[in-house]
């Protein structure tokens, strides 16, 4: 059995949310639907930092390593002397490594976001009930 509270005004909605939390409803049973992102909800319903950061870090690390490994491999395969610089010239490869770090980090973040939001399958994130401009608190009663 679940309850839902529908509000037209943001402050009344926030007060009810705080009151629900204070009365002991466990946070994992509360979910919130708002017409736009409400900052205060992030402070009231504190959640663990998103796991998306791991994707970004892994992508960036991979990009940095690839940015050095690929040029080093190719220059060692076909050695060309460019203006007296060493064949494996690290200062020149730093630019490529930097760009690939940013690129792979950004792409990994993007695909991780798609994964976590379960896009592009829309059925799992669109609620069948249309609440229009109202603020809604859904409390799931988790007891069996």
């Amino acid at each position: 059995m679940s309850q839902h509270f529908v509000f037209d005004e943001k402050n009344v909605f926030l007060n009810k949310l705080r009151e629900l939390l204070k009365s002991g409803v466990p946070q994992k049973n509360i979910s919130v639907i708002t017409p736009y992102h409400v900052h205060e909800v992030d402070e009231i319903l504190v959640s663990a930092p998103s796991k998306l950061r791991i994707f970004t870090f892994a992508g960036a690390l991979l990009g940095g390593i690839a940015g050095f490994a690929f040029p080093i491999y190719t220059t060692l395969s076909w050695k060309i002397n460019v203006g007296g610089k060493p064949v494996v010239s690290i200062p020149a490869f730093v630019i490529i490594a930097f760009e690939l770090t940013i690129l792979f980090g950004a792409l990994a973040t993007f695909f991780g976001f798609l994964l976590f939001s379960k896009l592009p399958v829309l059925k799992q994130i669109i609620d069948p009930v249309d609440y229009d401009k109202q603020f809604v608190i859904l409390v799931k009663n988790g007891e069996k």
Partner: protein, 346 residues
């Protein structure tokens, strides 16, 4: 903290005594061509200028996060005057510059001394006006902040172009001044992080304004500036390295050819970029006062090592006199800091 011991007249007396001792040490024990005072001044000028410039920049952007540590940072503004006085001592030591024997229009002792001393004095006046106005939260604070920041950039660029670059004559680099003042701001942020740590230690148990968010924000700035520093360093280094022109490469060759110089140069990269970047990457570390304090100390070591690497191939250095100078200027700055903090809270 005894009010009588740290009052203004005593601070002035003690500073004058320390200045006198340093003057005697410099005149008696200095060999020709020794640049220890230059190294000391380069380091302390970076720190002191950076502290106040950091507060000026934060106030101009209406940042409230700096308020807990603002008074502590601004308390160093009399050091601007102290460093101007020590610059006069440096004027007796211009034999480290290659233009000493035959000067020109720009590089003769009188013009060199006059222009740098006047800019240092203007910086002191601007810094003093900004610090006093900012402490009172007056409404001309933004105006003085802009003036101070302008003269901060001019003065730091003059330090780079006039005090450091001629040592390597005929090498020149147009990026040198900009790189230098960004390093100064970077060292100012490191000092802010250290002061946050000290305040958080003192506040443990007492009812002083907490510095948790300030520490987090200062650590974030330190992280950002490590990236900015690395970018500026790389932009200067890559151009010189890629061009490999004889007139530009002389600066680098002297600093990366000998094994010990090479180690020192690599250690600059590690201390000023690798360590702050890797340590301050995680959110938990940014709120951890001892770790941020250690990172800030590493950054300051990096700033000192960089000044050392500038000077080592060009001048001789005397460790004992360096120690005496550092101890002297450090004592004066601590006394000034305590004096201003007590006077502002009373």
């Amino acid at each position: 903290m005894d009010q009588g011991r740290v009052n203004t007249r005593n601070v002035i007396r003690i500073s004058a005594i320390i200045a006198g001792i340093l003057f005697i040490t410099e005149s008696l024990f200095r060999q020709r061509g020794d640049g220890s005072l230059l190294l000391t001044l380069l380091f302390w000028k970076s720190l002191v200028d950076g502290c106040i410039a950091f507060v000026a920049a934060a106030e101009l952007s209406k940042g409230k996060w700096i308020l807990p540590v603002k008074n502590a940072l601004l308390s160093f503004y009399p050091m601007l005057f102290v460093l101007s006085v020590f610059f006069i001592f440096l004027l007796f030591q211009v034999d480290i510059y290659p233009w000493y024997s035959d000067g020109g229009v720009w590089f003769n002792k009188n013009f060199f001394g006059a222009r740098n001393f006047i800019i240092l004095l203007i910086l002191y006046v601007a810094g003093r006006k900004f610090a006093i106005e900012s402490r009172r939260e007056g409404n001309r604070k933004n105006f003085y902040a802009v003036i101070f920041l302008f003269f901060f950039v001019v003065s730091q660029s003059m330090v780079a172009f006039d005090w450091v670059m001629p040592l390597e004559y005929p090498w020149y680099s147009t990026l040198f001044g900009g790189y230098h003042f960004v390093e100064s701001l970077y060292s100012g942020i490191a000092v802010a992080a250290i002061l946050c740590f000290i305040i958080s230690r003192k506040a443990a148990g007492k009812n002083i304004q907490p510095v948790g968010r300030t520490l987090f924000d200062t650590a974030t700035m330190l992280f950002g500036f490590s990236l900015l520093w690395a970018g500026l360093f790389y932009s200067q280094y890559l151009v010189i390295w890629y061009g490999n022109l004889p007139e530009e490469i002389s600066f680098l060759v002297k600093r990366i050819s000998l094994p010990y110089m090479r180690t020192l140069s690599y250690s600059i990269l590690i201390e000023l970029f690798a360590v702050p970047f890797l340590i301050l990457l995680s959110r938990r570390v940014k709120s951890n006062p001892p770790l941020v304090f250690i990172t800030a100390l590493v950054v300051l070591t990096g700033i000192f090592t960089e000044r050392l690497v500038y000077l080592l191939p060009a001048v001789s250095l005397d460790p004992l006199r360096l120690l005496i100078q550092f101890a002297g200027i450090g004592t004066i700055s601590i006394l000034i800091h305590k004096n201003k903090i007590i006077n502002s809270s009373s």
